[in-house]
């Protein structure tokens, strides 16, 4: 019970944000949850969010692991996904006839490319002890050019039925395929984390590498492993993204996704300084970001270019509410109110304070 409580309090921030966003959307229009069926597939706001956030979710899972182990962030994921998807497109276009097998083989080849990227970054971070953001800056600078050279020309088109179905809907299946792929990926990650010691090792390395080393966990290996997982994540995300788009645009594919992925990790209640992590939190965070983007588009009938400013204000408010100082203050205020209530002399001045504390935005600090 206590453990459950601790977990829930960890997820308090992302979940409350999600709830607030849903409430805002419901105020705007009561038909927010309505789902329509078009040609046997479900469409509506919620499926759209699940559909739109699929790459972001996958990348934020990898980002959570990398952040937890190496105490830094990977900013080259967008470029990495561009390279892996370029490899995929190259394989599929050169394969001649496109069957399910070629797509699968292409996906596996792109996974190998993702692993190569992971090895590149992982060696820099684990062996050479370069900070992750710096190590991945290299790929960030050169990655899209490499992808362009793999392509050989500007945006080759992936016109075949199978990739179209992977990008949108397989006839007869009610959900869009990226949603299903994301769910499968999440399930695999959940099984891996449940059956192996990965979580324990990653957390111990992230909290204190030298202590982990003294306990027989090699921090280098663990950090290297997280970058390999990140490489697989970029390959899967690139695969989904390129099939969604139907063409490989090496300049704009997943362009600013690293910012969103890091934001998802942070909104999910994870520390960006490494240590304990919550994959659930970052998944919820990723969906929250997608929902935020769509909510802003829905609420404000202005030019989409001004959306970043509103997004920024939202993030700042969110972070201020979740900041340690405000949390401590809220906890103190809560304790004071309780103390006054217990001593039986609830003064009139207590009322406004109670109102402040009961604000749904202020998460009460867990009392130990």
């Amino acid at each position: 019970m206590r453990r459950l409580k601790a977990q829930v309090s960890h997820l308090f921030l992302p979940l409350s944000v999600l709830v607030i966003l849903i409430i805002i959307n419901l105020i705007k229009g009561a038909d927010y949850f309505s789902i329509t069926v078009v040609k046997g597939a479900l469409y509506g706001n919620i499926p759209n969010i699940l559909f739109g956030a699929s790459e972001l979710v996958i990348l934020s899972i990898g980002m959570a692991l990398v952040t937890a182990a190496s105490q830094g962030q990977d900013i080259g994921i967008g470029a990495g996904a561009t390279i892996t998807s370029a490899v995929f497109v190259l394989f599929v276009l050169n394969a001649g006839e496109v069957t399910l097998l070629t797509i699968l083989a292409g996906f596996l080849v792109s996974c190998v490319a993702g692993l190569v990227i992971g090895v590149f970054n992982g060696i820099l971070v684990s062996v050479f002890k370069v900070q992750p953001m710096v190590a991945t800056l290299i790929l960030f600078m050169g990655g899209r050019s490499i992808a362009f050279m793999i392509d050989g020309r500007l945006s080759p088109i992936l016109a075949n039925d199978i990739s179209n179905q992977i990008g949108t809907v397989i006839p007869g299946v009610p959900l869009q395929t990226p949603i299903i792929l994301t769910a499968v990926f999440i399930a695999i990650v959940a099984v891996v984390l449940k059956t192996t010691n990965l979580r324990l090792y990653v957390e111990s390395v992230g909290i204190n590498p030298s202590a982990a080393r003294l306990n027989g966990i090699d921090p280098k290996k663990i950090i290297f492993l997280t970058f390999l997982i990140m490489g697989i994540c970029t390959a899967v995300a690139g695969f989904i993204a390129v099939n969604k788009a139907g063409r490989h645009d090496s300049v704009n594919l997943l362009k600013f996704i690293m910012m969103d992925a890091i934001l998802a990790v942070a909104i999910g209640g994870n520390s960006l300084g490494g240590g304990k992590f919550s994959i659930t939190g970052s998944i919820i965070g990723a969906y929250t970001i997608e929902m935020l983007n769509r909510t802003l588009l829905r609420l404000i009938d202005v030019d989409p270019a001004t959306i970043p400013a509103f997004k920024a204000v939202f993030i700042i408010i969110l972070m201020v509410v979740a900041s340690p100082v405000v949390r401590d203050f809220a906890a103190k205020a809560l304790r004071w109110v309780r103390f006054r209530a217990d001593s039986g002399t609830v003064p009139e001045t207590g009322a406004p304070d109670a109102a402040v504390v009961s604000d749904p935005d202020t998460p009460a600090k867990k009392e130990v």
């Binding site: 900070q131 800056l137 600078m141 490499i146 960006l272 270019a305 959306i307 400013a309 700042i316 201020v320």
Partner: protein, 363 residues
């Protein structure tokens, strides 16, 4: 007793100075290599001055970011703040209401406003710097596109004369093919760079604030126990960074005489890369302010070299990524060799660089 011994002339080089030295040596080697491969262009003084003339905004941004990185934070909003400043100044100047001084004040004001906001949130509310400055990036970007979407060319006469302003050095220059002597020119931006480098280097070296920045970046807890106001130090570091972003925006618009939505895009990452090449670590506590312009110049010389070699633009990005890779590995190898006490570099006293002696007894 060790502290007494440390006062002897054979001091070990501190980490900051070692990294700075590596950066400086790399820059000199790079420039020598450039001169050897392309003597026609790189031997001219004008080429060297143009590095400053054309890239003054980046170097100015790098300086502010260096202080933030030494204090242990990061600021990725500077590029977009710079772009916002440019656009705001351009709109103000084109509207006919403002003067050049008004635009300058606006530029500084926007920069300081971003610095104050981010600094307060990061230092006093203890929010992760990456997220807050990311929000700052989004905010600046959104405001920029709200303000104006199309490229603006400033036509105000007073400002155009400022854009055309240049200092001519009559005794230094080259003759062109026709035998006409062309003197070297220095733009106003380069002067601003030099002034800011001197000012900020003095600030970091000789003032209490500068010392505090190193102490806070090295170890926040021990800095607090020494009685340093950690929060205020962090706060002012971000304010200075915002201020330099504002100045960079004004210098940029002075350089190109207009503004565009896409200008100064990804400058923040270039600035981070320059600082890293210049020997400032992202962990904080280690770095030398003089290293950041050198890092920026190294990056720019690489780009110039690749451009001079006539490589395709895609290769340009790849090659600069590879060179960045080499530098990073070199730095890390040197640092780790030093950590194992196998590598000792003792410089003669007259060669030693000014800087902190914090890491003196480490390793």
């Amino acid at each position: 007793m060790r502290s007494l011994n440390a006062a002897k002339p054979k001091k070990r080089l501190s980490n900051s100075n070692l990294l700075f030295l590596i950066a400086a040596v790399i820059f000199v080697l790079m420039y020598l290599f450039a001169i050897i491969s392309f003597p026609g262009s790189f031997l001219q003084f004008q080429t060297f001055f143009d590095l400053f003339n054309l890239n003054a905004p980046l170097i100015i941004m790098t300086l502010g970011l260096c202080i933030v990185m030494i204090v242990g934070g990061i600021d990725i909003s500077i590029g977009q703040v710079c772009a916002l400043v440019m656009m705001a100044c351009a709109v103000l100047l084109e509207s006919g209401l403002g003067s050049v001084w008004g635009a300058l004040l606006l530029a500084l004001g926007i920069g300081i406003a971003f610095g104050l906001l981010q600094g307060y949130l990061i230092a006093y509310l203890e929010i992760q710097p990456f997220i807050i400055t990311l929000a700052g990036l989004f905010l600046a970007k959104g405001l920029l596109t709200t303000l104006h979407k199309d490229p603006i060319n400033v036509t105000m006469p007073a400002f155009v004369s400022l854009v055309d302003f240049k200092i001519v050095i009559p005794w230094l220059g080259t003759e062109n093919r026709l035998g006409v002597f062309i003197p070297c020119e220095i733009k106003a931006g380069a002067v601003v760079v030099v002034v800011l480098v001197v000012l900020l280097a003095a600030l970091m070296k000789w003032t209490r604030f500068g010392r505090n920045v190193y102490a806070v970046g090295g170890n926040e807890q021990s800095a607090m126990m020494l009685g340093i106001n950690v929060k205020r130090t962090k706060f002012f570091a971000y304010v200075i960074c915002g201020l330099t972003a504002g100045i960079a925006g004004f210098v940029f618009i002075m350089q190109i005489g207009g503004a565009n939505v896409g200008s100064a895009a990804l400058f923040e990452l270039k600035a981070i890369a320059s600082n890293i090449i210049g020997g400032t670590l992202l962990n904080g506590g280690v770095g030398n302010l003089l290293g950041s312009p050198i890092g920026a110049l190294t990056l720019l010389v690489i780009n110039e070299l690749i451009r001079a070699a006539g490589v395709q633009s895609n290769f340009q990005a790849i090659v600069s990524g590879l060179l960045l890779y080499l530098f990073i590995v070199l730095q890390s190898v040197v640092m780790s060799l030093r950590g194992r006490r196998k590598f000792r570099l003792v410089l003669a006293p007259w060669l030693r660089l000014p800087g902190m002696k914090k890491a003196e007894n480490q390793g």
